[in-house]
Symmetry: C2
Subunit: 236 residues, 2 copies
């Protein structure tokens, strides 16, 4: 079986990607990035999910971008709340982390070269992230060309890199349905940009709003525990 | 004056690049990467050099690749010693860090986007690093294309990124001469892959061998203090 590096944040999208990689015949190697995000609960969830979904291994690389500032996800400015999807779609969001996906894919590329993998799986989504240039197909095409020139593995012709973005043109509802189809326990995943210490989601940031809308549109109960929605969660 | 991000390791090449950026009319913003290298003295030297050469600011980002292993520069395997330049030129060196320059440029790109710069200056050298695919012109061309698609700044057409590699086809002797021409205090720079606690260079790793040969060929006294060469250094 070919090896694949799966970028695993612990969120809905990346978890479905890990299940997708297994379903498509890859041996998944999960990689999480500790980039100084405010929502550190993600890293714990990612470790659990990697075990549950039988990843061959799970590594975490620290990339500390906090000294750069520039995003509400890594600095102390407030995460935007209660925005409509139309508002999210206008311009670049304050939750945009400069060159974030370039850093994430670079780390995945380094890991891939270390283990002899040529397949990278990344849960980018062009619909939910219209304001993020590094979630679009053109970005991934440019990174694929880069990967072959950037590595000893590519340079010596041992293989050619491929970046799989199985969710790129899916709606959140499609992703929820795909996750259920692949047997993923979606209650383990976390999407919130601003969870509390117990990992309960805020229900009001962009990520929560998109997630809730996705479950609603997929006509599937949302197993997430939201701190601002009494009675939410799998245990209701 | 246009801003430029200069990747500053504290070595000879990156220090000459910082001086080059100033001489070419850029406001230099220095960026060092703490990637878990064994030779941490570099980071201290980089801070000194950034002050000496009047960089507008100097930031350090931590990118911890040690969990990946894969290189003698970040793991405990031995740094190769006493190799000839012909031996260094054959194949990929064990000091090769997988996808390292992709990571470094990604970090520089993130910093550039944060401060509104479009110029990146990087002291890559194709001659000294024949075994490193990510030191070649094709790699930098691919990264430039990527940068414009990867960022909000590029996407919104606020500018186009340029990667300057002023040392790409220079010999080490050329770099020594350029540094002196630009008034750089080369004794502040450190190249060694395996310095001791006092920062004294080993004289025998690939970096030391290339550096020593460069000063010799440039017919310039080498100000480096080598622990294995009694009487070496600026204070002899």
């Amino acid at each position: 079986m070919p090896k694949a590096v799966v970028l695993l944040s612990g969120g809905l999208d990346s978890t479905v990607c890990l299940a997708w990689a297994k379903a498509h015949g890859y041996e998944p190697y999960a990689l999480s990035i500790d980039y100084g995000q405010r929502h550190r609960i993600e890293l714990d969830r990612a470790a659990h999910i990697a075990r549950d979904l039988l990843a061959v291994e799970h590594r975490t690389i620290a990339i500390d971008l906090r000294s750069l500032g520039g995003s509400s996800l890594t600095s102390s400015s407030d995460v935007p709340k209660d925005r409509t999807q139309a508002e999210m779609a206008i311009g670049i969001s304050s939750t945009y982390v400069p060159a974030r996906n370039t850093m994430l894919l670079s780390a995945a590329l380094a890991y891939a070269e270390t283990i002899g993998a040529f397949d990278l799986v990344f849960g980018a989504n062009a619909l939910d992230h219209a304001g993020y240039p590094d979630c679009r197909p053109g970005f991934f095409a440019a990174f694929t060309i880069l990967a072959d020139t950037a590595t000893a593995a590519g340079d010596e012709g041992r293989g050619r890199f491929r970046i799989h973005t199985p969710l790129i043109d899916k709606t959140k509802a499609d992703i929820v349905r795909l996750g259920i189809e692949l047997g993923v326990d979606l209650s383990q995943t976390t999407s919130c940009y601003d969870p509390d210490r117990e990992g309960r989601a805020c229900a009001r940031c962009d990520a929560c709003i998109l997630r809730r809308a996705g479950f609603a549109e997929a006509e599937t109960p949302d197993p997430t525990t939201y701190r601002n929605l009494p009675g939410s969660g799998a245990d209701r």
